[in-house]
């Protein structure tokens, strides 16, 4: 009886061991599914791109488009809380930054703050920056730009950088060609 138990137990144990080895190595079923999922996800990404482009072309045709970006330098002298944007006297944007977003700016990211439409001709842009300045005091500064909108998309960058010589932050508005 005991020998019989031993033989049976050995067979069961070895089949269990093999079963565990097979289960631990992902098989062709997983890979097949994975490859299907890969190509499906690629299609979704491509479709997303097409829809994103289409939406932008419908809402903001290239001829009238104006895009305003925000970029931030090292951030020693200024910690950004919010930006308010006015175009021709009308407020078009008011953005509060999360810590994550501010960190992304400091790493070198550039935020597209505003996308809109403008007629051809002269326009005035005013941006107000609020945050913590040197010595952690509340800080609010503005910058203005008068620019001409021609035919074609217009890009403007609101640059926040550290001016080491004056130990102060600097706020500039730069037009891109």
């Amino acid at each position: 009886m005991t020998r019989w138990i031993l033989i049976l137990a050995a067979v069961l144990a070895s089949s269990l061991a093999m079963g565990q080895d097979v289960a631990s190595n992902p098989g062709s079923a997983f890979k097949g599914l994975d490859q299907d999922v890969q190509s499906l996800k690629k299609e979704v990404l491509d479709l997303n791109r097409e829809l994103f482009v289409l939406e932008e072309e419908l809402l903001f045709p290239a001829n009238t488009q104006v895009a305003v970006f925000v970029s931030m330098d090292v951030g020693t002298f200024f910690s950004l809380d919010s930006v308010t944007l006015k175009l021709d006297g009308k407020e078009v944007g008011n953005y509060l930054y999360t810590e994550r977003e501010a960190a992304a700016l400091l790493k070198g990211g550039v935020q597209r703050l505003y996308l809109g439409n403008l007629k051809v001709g002269n326009h005035e842009m005013v941006a107000f920056f609020s945050g913590q300045g040197p010595h952690e005091r509340d800080y609010r500064r503005g910058a203005t730009l008068t620019f001409e909108k021609g035919v074609g998309a217009k890009y403007v960058e609101l640059k926040i950088s550290d001016r080491q010589s004056q130990q102060q932050p600097e706020f500039l508005i730069k037009e891109w060609e």
Binding site: L6, L16, P26, L40, K41, K42, L45, E55, K107
Partner: protein, 630 residues
Amino acid sequence: MSKFTLSAGILSALLSLPVYAKDEVVPQGVFTAPQIVRDLYYGDVLFHFYQDDYFGSLTRLGASQVLGRLTQQRDEAELLQGALYLSLGQHVEAGRIFRSLLNDNVADGVRNRAWFYLAKVWYQRSYLAEAEQALASIKGKLPGPMEGERQLLAAQVLLYQERYGEAIHLLEAWQSTDDSASYARFNLGVALIRQDRLDAAAPLLDGLGMSGAASQEMAALRDKANVALGFALLKANRPAEARVILERVRLRGPQSNKALLGLGWAESSENHFREALAPWLELQNRDLLDAAVQESYLAVPFAYAKLSANRQAADTYVHALGLFREEGMRLDQSIAAIRAGGMLDAILQNDAVGAQGWYWQLAELPDAPETRYLYHLLASNEFQEGLKNYRDLKAMQHNLGAWNQSLAAFDDMIETRRRAHVERQPKLREALGGVDVDKLESGRNDFESRLSLIERDHDVVGLANAAEHQQWMKIERIEAALADSDPADRAFQEMREKARMLRGVVYWDLSASYKARLWREKKQLRELDVALKDARKLQILVGRAQVDAPQRTEELAARVGRLAPNLESLSARLGAAADAQRRYLASVAVAELEAQKDRLASYTMQAQFALASIYDQAATTPGLAQGAAP
């Protein structure tokens, strides 16, 4: 009953999977230096990338490429695109991009890191040949601890392909002092044991088993090494050595149950059954989910029987049979629940919506019976990768659902454009009809000709304003009238003199300001040229827009029309793929539970045979009936 047959499965489990350090891949590690932005839209992509919004970043990057907004940083953008695809587990696309881009023009650091992360993703998804190729593409060393990870990964890729000799050679040649070296020693020990080279494996695992542990992770690895060596020694019939090794394992830890079981067998092998009972009885106080605990319910009565305590042995076997039966029923319930389809949703119910990415890890498990049985499976690469795929598919379905709602708005926008164009036509025609740019240009040319003549002839009067010109004409009329008068008449002489003086004064004034006036007229001519040029340009643009705008609107309408059925079909395919993934994961989970059930069935059978044997003995041996349960 033999310790080897029952515990062979445990030893095999210890040796079947090489271990690896905690796997945190940060795709942003491909780009470690701050990026300099020369294209604003490249910066826009980075802004979302640094917030781990990989799907959004990839969409924006693709859109910027299509719209031609990346003129200065095309190559960086493509490399970032590869990293983003990798972040979403799209290793096929990432591999294609890296193969085409990662040449000698790319900085070594970026190139090597990209290949390393790609190798990791391929390893995780069991594309071992591809992982090996990617690792072979790394030139030189990786920075800091990444080099250790790379060596370890290379060894694992070989071990998974059962190329133990090469893995051993690689790990033996590698010298390191960081934590990854400990993992390397463990994996090398495993490889040697699998090649039946226990004497070579023993010093490695023994050294690791006695090392100090600066962290919980290293302490767990130390325990694992002791358990692996202990069981290998048991299998080699060296129980005394096995006992010493197994006694090093912490009493509370992930390996403690196996160690207690092994200790019991080590004692039992030397016929120290009373000593074997201590660790086995301790196991019976622990969670029955564990295989070692289940085995202890057979080991304890085995020891009792060896100590001739047949009554206790029989009682324990009966108790074990009851427990195994209940556990089997719980497993059946869990299998039914998984087959009913609720497992994945229960697992993901606390998941943060929107967080995506290949390196996403499941943070919390729901307290359901099926998840308790599946801890080890849930930690496996296969299940985690399958879960990521499922999760991504559901997120993409959600994303396409949102776009589906937007499509109705796109139709409205297009209709608004069509109407606006029709409404603007009459005003536009009227405005264009009222302006004759050709005539204006002709007038401009006349003006230029006259100005040239004035300049050539130094005709100061030509630049007189209206009042001055009138004055000059008056003087000329007066002179003409006086020309026929009597030259001897004194009065006429005076008048002629006055007229001459007046002419002189006016001429003097005009002459003094001639240069300034000429300059001003030329300036105005230049400004007129600019204005005419703008007018001509705008006329052309408006003319073109009259034709192009409706064409453009119809093109956009066609695109919307084409995308709508695509979206619908893709949504349906995503749903089908998510279902297929769910079914696959459920089948893997059920297979695991069935395997646990099979193990319980095996234990049950052994317990029944052993119990029957005790009853037989009690029935056939007088005096022993007192020691056996009825």
